[in-house]
């Protein structure tokens, strides 16, 4: 997995160009396109969150849609019932989702592999019904969901709401991805991966497996929860039917397609889960699901390490100088 490091000297201008493009993008495209890319960024955070857990730490979760929903609802309820400004909901969501993820990580310690996958899947199945529960209806709005007011650009800046939200989300993306990259680069990252590859050896080397695993679960839930909150802010609407079990599966698809255990693959994975269904429905209205599945199978077959490894392969091929 470490072979994916791009040689810093040759890639620096490229990285700078990509960053510039990301920052300036909304100036060149329509509000609707900004909104679409914003959604990809939001999903990228969620996919990264799941990748930290599944790709790096080896704990499979089929229930991350539940944390996404938790983040979305905490943000929505704070804005709707408590009048908290949208930007101030993010730290609260981060704390709540970390704690809930950490607590869920405790029993998850006893479950390995497919048992954990099933336990988390039950979480995904229960989420929409839980959100409709009459006991919570006072806050969640029941089936109706919650409409949120439009976030306006700060300081009376004259820009469209979609552009502003793009930059607002981009800021979170930068912070969260840089944090994740730093975390995974150091000794902590090595420990997280060691637990995945050789749990016994990790334990012997003095790593506290349980503490690491629950903490990673908490961080993973926090990332996905923040993504959920951002999604609620961008869409200005939450409802139980937005968070079906399919969402959790799409996140896992995003992880696998982007690249298991690759940070930057999260963007490609997120783009895949948002763009490919649209493309396949434009090709055929009768076989939308089938086309999606075929593209997915083709990718898994030709690029089992994900799209990001494909990008790296092409980069190396392009920069390889003839001897």
């Amino acid at each position: 997995m470490q072979s994916q490091m791009i040689k810093t000297s040759s890639s620096r201008p490229l990285v700078a160009a990509v960053c510039m493009l990301a920052i300036l993008l909304p100036l060149f495209v329509s509000d609707f396109r900004s909104f679409q890319v914003t959604q990809i960024l939001v999903y990228a955070i969620a996919v990264l969150g799941l990748n930290l857990l599944t790709g790096y730490n080896g704990q499979i979760s089929l229930g991350h849609g539940a944390f996404f929903a938790l983040g979305a609802y905490v943000a929505a309820i704070l804005m709707d019932k408590a009048g908290v400004p949208y930007w101030a909901t993010i730290p609260v969501v981060a704390a709540v989702c970390f704690v809930v993820g950490f607590i869920f990580g405790l029993p998850a310690l006893r479950l390995a592999g497919h048992y954990l996958a099933l336990a988390t899947f039950s979480l995904a199945l229960a989420t929409p019904q839980l959100l409709k529960h009459p006991a919570l209806e006072k806050w969640t709005g029941g089936v109706q969901g919650i409409f949120l007011s439009k976030p306006q650009p700060p300081f009376g800046l004259a820009m469209s709401q979609d552009r502003w939200l793009y930059w607002f989300v981009l800021l979170h993306v930068v912070v969260l991805f840089v944090c994740a990259a730093n975390l995974l680069r150091g000794p902590v990252g090595r420990a997280i991966r060691a637990i995945r590859d050789q749990p016994l050896a990790a334990e012997t080397a003095g790593i506290d497996n349980s503490r690491f695993k629950t903490t990673v679960f908490g961080i993973s839930a926090m990332y996905t929860g923040i993504a959920g909150a951002l999604s609620a802010i961008v869409l200005q609407f939450v409802s139980p039917d937005s968070f079906t079990m399919f969402l959790s599966i799409y996140f896992l698809v995003g992880v696998v397609v982007g690249g298991v255990g690759s940070i930057w693959g999260a963007f490609l994975g997120a783009a895949f889960i948002l763009i490919v269904p649209n493309l396949s429905s434009e090709v055929s209205k009768s076989a939308t699901g089938m086309l999606y599945a075929m593209v997915l199978l083709l990718l898994i077959w030709r690029m089992p390490n994900g799209l990001w490894s494909g990008v790296l392969w092409m980069w190396r091929a392009a920069t390889r100088r003839p001897a």
Partner: protein
């Protein structure tokens, strides 16, 4: 001098106005009208997709016949898999990228709930939402959104009217699903019963997830009800039919027309137990031989054979899709040459006794600026052990 200049400027502006007004209606040119749609072509609700395909085929037929006022109908339809976030994306795409003149037949209660506010902010006519939820027929909150089929609330009103005529002091028990769908029925009963609702009605809610509704039924039965209304989906309706048939004093059972499938509701509940059930209908059942020689149904079958041959003639979705598209074309034809969004909405909310081929005889479309429910009539049906048989007059819902 100044006066004269102002006058000239004003008259120049007046001359330019009609041109400007025409140019400003997005999605309408001299040759085309763009119609936007978002539907569940994939995902759990994709069995409904044939509905939108029928509509697409209908518009193609209209285009082959020359279009409307010389304009071809450009039907742009995207897949939202009935997911609210994707519906928001697709509807925004239709409005902002494709710049459609009108939204048509957008699918599902959840997906439309997510987009209805945006659509009304943008003032796009959202004609004939494909959902029975009554909230999409509320001119005060959503002046640009109309339903089509009788809403669940209208259906509730019609059962209440029937019961009131049969037995004015009846005790009515309503078993309802605890969401928009179930609550609409209770609201419908209250609309009709008014002040006497509290003394006549006894309600019991169940959750979609409940495995059993026995305790709710016992609660209703112990109140000595004469009528049992199951305002529930297919699964719980089957449970209620089974349980109610076992009761010592058996109240007359009415099930919603969502839960009338012989195959998936009545057969599991037991056909013998289902005899005498009452429900309602507004469409000509494509499988009913009564309509073999019906002019409207012949028209529909001819259309299907020519323009959508792969569509199933037994699938009622294909009939409903046809009726939806038929209605939109009627509205657009009524627009004359003014296809501004305001005029499209005006025509859609000004329908008088419009007849539609698939609707039961006597049921017509009627709308006004205060009535956003095009169909407010139903005919009751009774199950005879084999099929649903219509009886009595067409009943109209309450005027609200």
């Amino acid at each position: 001098m100044i006066e004269r200049r102002e006058f000239l400027a004003a008259s120049a502006a007046a001359l330019l106005m009609p041109q400007l007004a025409r140019a400003q209606t997005p999605g309408v040119t001299d040759t085309e009208i763009k119609i936007g749609n978002s539907f569940a072509y994939s995902g759990p609700a994709s069995s409904f997709a044939t509905h939108a395909k029928t509509a697409a085929a209908y518009f193609k037929m209209i285009n082959d016949q020359g279009g409307i006022a010389g304009r071809k109908l450009n039907f742009i339809s995207y897949d939202d898999a009935a997911s609210p976030p994707r519906a928001i994306e697709q509807v925004r795409k239709l409005v902002e990228q494709d710049e459609v003149a009108v939204l048509f037949n957008t699918f599902g209660t959840a997906a439309n709930s997510a987009t209805v506010r945006y659509v009304n902010e943008k003032k796009i006519p959202q004609l004939f939402v494909y959902s029975g939820a009554d909230k999409f027929s509320d001119p005060k909150t959503y002046p640009w959104t109309l339903g089509w089929q009788p809403s669940y609330r209208t259906e509730g009103q019609i059962y209440a009217k029937y019961i009131r005529a049969e037995k004015p002091n009846a005790k009515i028990g309503i078993l309802f699903q605890n969401d928009d769908f179930g609550k609409d029925y209770v609201a419908g009963f209250r609309d009709v019963l008014g002040a006497s609702a509290d003394s006549m009605l006894k309600t019991a809610a169940h959750e979609l997830t409940d495995a059993s509704i026995d305790s709710q039924l016992l609660q209703l039965q112990s109140a000595g009800i004469d009528y049992l209304i199951s305002a529930t989906g297919p699964k719980h309706a089957a449970l209620a039919i089974r349980k109610n048939a076992e009761a010592a004093t058996r109240p007359l059972h009415i099930v919603t027309n969502v839960s009338t499938s012989v195959a998936s509701v009545l057969t599991p509940a037991g056909l013998d137990r289902s005899v005498g059930l009452i429900s309602s209908s507004y469409l000509k059942d494509p499988t009913d031989v009564v309509w073999a020689d019906d002019a409207g149904m012949k028209e529909w079958r001819a259309f299907m054979a020519k323009h959508y041959p792969e569509g199933d003639l037994k699938d009622i979705n294909n009939l409903i899709g046809y009726c939806f598209a038929f209605t939109l074309v009627k509205v657009l034809q009524a627009c004359g040459r003014d296809f501004s969004r305001e005029n499209i909405l005006k025509q859609a909310t000004n329908m008088n006794n419009v007849t539609v081929p698939g609707l039961l005889p006597g049921i017509t479309l009627n709308t006004s600026s205060s009535n956003y429910r095009p169909i407010r009539q139903l005919q009751l049906t009774r199950f005879d052990g084999k099929s649903w048989v219509r009886f009595g007059q067409i009943i109209k819902g309450a005027d609200l």
